[in-house]
Symmetry: D2
Subunit: 392 residues, 4 copies
């Protein structure tokens, strides 16, 4: 076991994923929730010293002031979460709510100043609770991808612009990521927003000696795709097209109804497929906001492959699930694993955590089964490394 | 490359799978067919010395006298195979037809005698063509499972009964398998028939120093299941039920319309699922003969899993393919790999060939990605072993 | 509007369908439930004088003593019904519970006596509440079909056997139907059980001058089929096969897991299809009990049709719904429409109510759109007839 | 029977639909094709005097000079049509090819002149073959919808512009429609192009005393929708969303890959749904060009409806078919029915032919079953009317 308690600081702490994860952590700690859907609860991780559910303390940033308990009750009313579970942890949710801060704004200040204000919130959360560390996890609304800029490719230019008052260069996801790194916090990017994907920032986490992992949680359709695509390859079947239709409501549905926001998501979703199958596969993909479906997401995929003697093989899949309950346990897994990585002294992008992401930082491996094997080996090796680190 | 030519002796040589494989081998040899759908054509096998397509010579047993070319043309008419491909290899099909023998019967003789007659056909095929070896592959109609018998558990009792005239103890699949082993031939059981699954016969292949592999080719629905089930496990989602419906026409459809024959198939199809997910998963499964669908098989699966916070996850898959064009390239792969195994001096069941089967002999591994890794490693190791064997 | 209140007497009053219908009636009366899913709430019925929801009084028979409110709460816990709705009508459910009687048994008496005891319960319900009439609706568990008997074809033999003590000739569904008819009550058979399907009993309802309607509610897969099949016919596409797989848990799932019980259901489900498409269509059909699915039913159908120039057309449908919430509003519709029929002096099977059933009594029409037109015309005509009847 | 032969003049005569229809007509005339997929071959039309298949003579316009036989062979190679059927009618296809004209262009002339040139081709086809009439059927590539113009709303302005040299006001579909009307030919618009949908032209067909019918053939997904939507309404289930994904290759796939062209198609496809279900239903819809799928079109629909007690009902449909073999028989039906209408002296849009179209001219009825009843009644009435017309 980890000594000391670990903080989780959610960017987007009142969103669907963060709220669900918070309910889950509270319920796991109270023993009213079973660790179904968690990766790190499997026997394979029995010997890995991961922080216990009751040693996780939650806080975060959001731009929306709706109380967390109200958000949680809305999710229950929508059918995603049993109402009884929400009520069983209501007190804990209120305690977390007191640890959520509105994202600080510095109207006429520089972006460097904004980063500092965000980092201050993280640091004071850590100090207030005497936490060993705080893992920052971005689960905020997907941002539109920013247009390219010379500053994105030149660290000096970038630092200069950040220091300038009134200049809005970096999007919010990047500011939050830099705040995390600045506060010495391990950082997870669970969204497709650009975050640390800006070229000039590729080295910041390693420099700051904090471990990071990303990006864009791999939960539903994309998970399935990276499980299925290697089957076609291994069997020598030539995939010609892989089309997809996603229907979803809820907060994420509304955000992705914006064509600018959806662009980063679509790119992220198709990347693995092309890596696994080659770039001439035809991959039309749509995400539609269907508000009446609420938090239930339905994805239909149609795969066309060529088999032996020019024969047609088709596979259709329909996946239906509450999206946030797929994401929430992974977010908890990531908090535990990043905490371990930090404990073991690792820094920079952790390629073996690619298992959790559509667009893995530091890795080109998308094949799910291979990623799963890599993850388990990594966890065991890191456990050993941490043990030696502590002895030394 | 292997020196010398290798024979393939199909049990069920005029069936849909054997005919398709034969067309494929002929087309590959002539260069009019591309190696799509073959596993051993992948780059991973580039350094493995496998017999070339033009060094494969085909013959076999069947109970049906319909000329092979006629069977091939019927498959083309049914839409499974391009008519042009059949015509391009018509001459080769006629040559193979001349190497197909009706299964020899010895009306009042013993079953030991029947085994000998079958073995004689294999040996004379080998000698007639000066083949280095003959790989025997069972792709005959699925048999009903025989009722259990004391002789099945006691080698001595069994041998005694085999010597008795007029006693019909063993089903045809077992007779053919024993004929193969008796002729010193590597043997593949691609069907769910009992074959060497009789307990008293478990050691015969090892004793005879021939490599064997089985059983029941993993091509469609079962392939998908062993690809998908590990995803649910790895992600901690608890699969509660996995239901399946299979619709098919063609020869196999008609055979499986017989409830006695279908029983062995159904057992074989569900085994992997229970191994991968635990035995309390509810797994209703049906196979229906729908003659109008011809050789196209459609399988629908419905998976219900429990996710985080008691949420419902469902996955439906619909797989549609010409069943025999899925099986045929695997049969060719198996001929090449068993030939390599034999060349390297291996004998008995080869666990690493479990990749190809619903019910792997010598192995409990059903997870497809893991099987794929094992297969490639095994091929490379065996290549090395063969090289040393030849030096020595 | 109907003057006076109308009773509904459910056979199987504590089952899923009856409980859901009772919650619905209570909620409609209280104004906390909207008339979604009801046929008779459409504008087309605006001029038809149907009994109001607040004029319906519910009672019934069951063999299970579990209090109705407990059954209702279980349905809510299973996700089928909002818990808030159940609580909003809890008091009304308790009142109905007081009107539910265990099916009376007369251990050593005759079946005629059993019929009388059941009829007494219905009559005393009517008198206790001063009801204008009581519509009896069978929503009990599906029974196995009884083996044929000479008494089933000869009224005299049958009456004789009914009078005999200790003779168990008729199944429970028939006893309840005869009790209804004996009590002068309109009767609906919503199940596939034999009920009045015994040839010797075909005339009883007409003789007793009570209107009846049946049989086996058409709610999910079968509804879809009778909507889709006429499309293929109208467009000249030749349906070759129509295969179906049904997965369900809940009470009905458990009952239908019994092969004897499922037989009547399967026959009932396929009848319409053959009537609409001709008898050589291949129609494999399965119903599987999958307890983890609870009250959600999923049905997959695969249709194969031949189009112009021998081309293949396939249609797959997947229907997912809470089965009892499909059935319950129809049961309410039927109570209202049978009440109207009775008021207008109609008797015997009402063919135009075939709209509601898999196996319509008195009609061979299965095409849904045509049935819908017939239903509306009938309702208007019956309204006119009732008006004249009342004037006269 | 009709006396005299009837011509069909296809706009887009070398396209997939026209080629398939031409093969079909030839095959029906020769007796090598069965009338599967035709509406007018049903018993319901037995007493309607429709022109015989061997009395149909085909010609048309196209912008592509590829010989018809070559187009037909390509369709056979793509798997849509049996090669044997094409070869059996090869001579007839060559004869039709000789009757296909490139769309005449009048580079610097007026559009009125272009209309005249097109009409001349139709008239000279009629005279050359001594045809009783020529039915013009537009099955050309879908056009982008033109931007609105004042001339579209004022007949005088429009005529003025048409007379002007060098002015390109009307799109090709409208020019062809006006040519048909000008030549006194019944006209069918099978595409979603604007054609006679220009407000100022609404009366032209009635003025010219020719019957017309349109628009946009209702063959696959839309057909299904107008069959299924009335089921939900009749049963009082409230449809909240109806999402659709269409995958197709072939010529139509390539055309619809152009966002401008697809716009008219999408509008046309959703119109019926909103009419049948109300305008607040959420209906995301996509058409993707997936070239590897060739002429096979796959459409997935996901319907979400609210049932009784706020329960969720979902229906998914997957429809797979060769699109042109769905359209071709309808085109033949329409030629026969328009010929009848003309014979009976009808003119202007025929509302009862709305059965064939996504966007019926002269009618708001989209419910398929109702349309089917209307069609049959209309055909019988028109037959009677024609008989009286001939007597008089
Ligand atoms: N299965 C999944 O749910 C899944 C999978 C992969 C990725 N994601 C990503 O996770 C993210 C969250 O998804 P969700 O369903 O919880 O969405 P949501 O809309 O419910 O929640 C997003 C939250 O972020 C807050 N927010 C917006 N801008 C912010 C900012 N600048 N700083 C801080 N907070 C801000 C919003 O107020 C909201 O509370 C999305 O980016 C989504 O793409 C989710
Ligand atoms: N994807 C696949 O096609 C697939 C996958 C796994 C297993 N299999 C198995 O492969 C086998 C062959 O399938 P198929 O589709 O080719 O069937 P098929 O019916 O087309 O062919 C079977 C052939 O075996 C012959 N035969 C029957 N009894 C025999 C006997 N005693 N000895 C020799 N020949 C005999 C028949 O005459 C026929 O020619 C079946 O057992 C099937 O279950 C096929
Ligand atoms: N969509 C639908 O739900 C649907 C559609 C068509 C037909 N049905 C039929 O409706 C019936 C009820 O379905 P359900 O889901 O409510 O089942 P259920 O198992 O929940 O309820 C059946 C009830 O009948 C009671 N019962 C059993 N034997 C009885 C008897 N002899 N007399 C009186 N009561 C008896 C049981 O105790 C139980 O309470 C079934 O026959 C089913 O096939 C349902
Ligand atoms: N099920 C169906 O196939 C279906 C259903 C409804 C509507 N439609 C419509 O039918 C039309 C034809 O479909 P298709 O699959 O045959 O397409 P296609 O691309 O195969 O054929 C279109 C033909 O039109 C020709 N053409 C293009 N512009 C022309 C012009 N200005 N004048 C004359 N000819 C011209 C092209 O050269 C081509 O030969 C499309 O508009 C399509 O939307 C088809
Ligand atoms: Na095994
Ligand atoms: Na009937």
């Amino acid at each position: 076991m980890n000594e000391g308690r670990t903080g989780i600081w959610f960017i987007g702490a009142r969103g669907s994923v963060a709220t669900t994860a918070t309910i889950g952590i509270a319920g796991l700690a109270e023993g009213v929730v079973r660790p179904v859907g968690l990766v790190t609860a499997a026997a394979a991780f029995d010997d890995v010293p991961l922080v216990g559910f009751d040693d996780l303390v939650v806080g975060g940033h959001d731009v929306d002031p709706t109380p967390l308990l109200e958000r949680a009750r809305r999710l229950a009313a929508g059918g995603m979460i049993p109402a009884a579970t929400v009520e069983a942890v209501a007190r804990r949710l209120e305690a977390v709510d007191a640890e959520i801060r509105l994202v600080p704004r510095s109207p006429r200040g520089s972006q460097r100043r904004e980063i500092e204000l965000r980092a201050d919130d993280i640091r004071s959360f850590r100090d207030r609770h005497g936490l060993r560390r705080v893992v920052v996890i971005d689960v905020a609304s997907t941002e539109p991808l920013p247009a390219d800029r010379p500053e994105f490719h030149d660290r000096e230019l970038l630092e200069h612009a950040l220091a300038q008052e009134g200049v809005e260069l970096l999007p919010s996801s990047t500011l939050s990521a830099l705040a995390a790194v600045g506060a010495g916090s391990p950082y997870v990017c669970f969204t497709p927003s650009i975050s640390l994907g800006i070229p000039a920032l590729h080295g910041v986490a390693a420099e700051a000696r904090v471990p990071i992992a990303g990006q864009d949680g791999k939960t539903g359709e994309t998970l399935l795709r990276t499980v299925l695509a290697p089957m076609f390859s291994s069997r020598g079947m030539r995939v010609l097209s892989w089309a997809g239709a996603n229907l979803l409501g809820g907060g994420d549905g509304a955000t992705l109804a914006d064509p600018a926001a959806v662009e980063s998501k679509l790119a992220s979703k198709n990347r693995g497929l092309h890596d696994l199958l080659g770039h001439d596969v035809v991959t039309p993909l749509h995400i539609d906001n269907v508000p009446d479906l609420g938090d239930v997401k339905t994805a239909w995929d149609h795969v066309h492959a060529e088999g032996f003697l020019d024969t047609r093989i088709t596979l259709q899949t329909t996946w239906t699930a509450y999206d946030s309950t797929l994401a929430a346990p992974l977010v908890i897994d990531l908090a535990r694993l990043l905490s371990l990585a930090d404990e073991a002294g690792l820094s920079g992008p952790i390629p073996e955590l690619g298992y959790f992401f559509k667009d893995p930082w530091g890795s080109d491996e998308h094949a799910f089964a291979r990623q799963a094997d890599e993850l388990v080996s990594w966890a065991l090796q890191t456990a050993v490394r941490r043990a030696s680190a502590q002895v030394a």
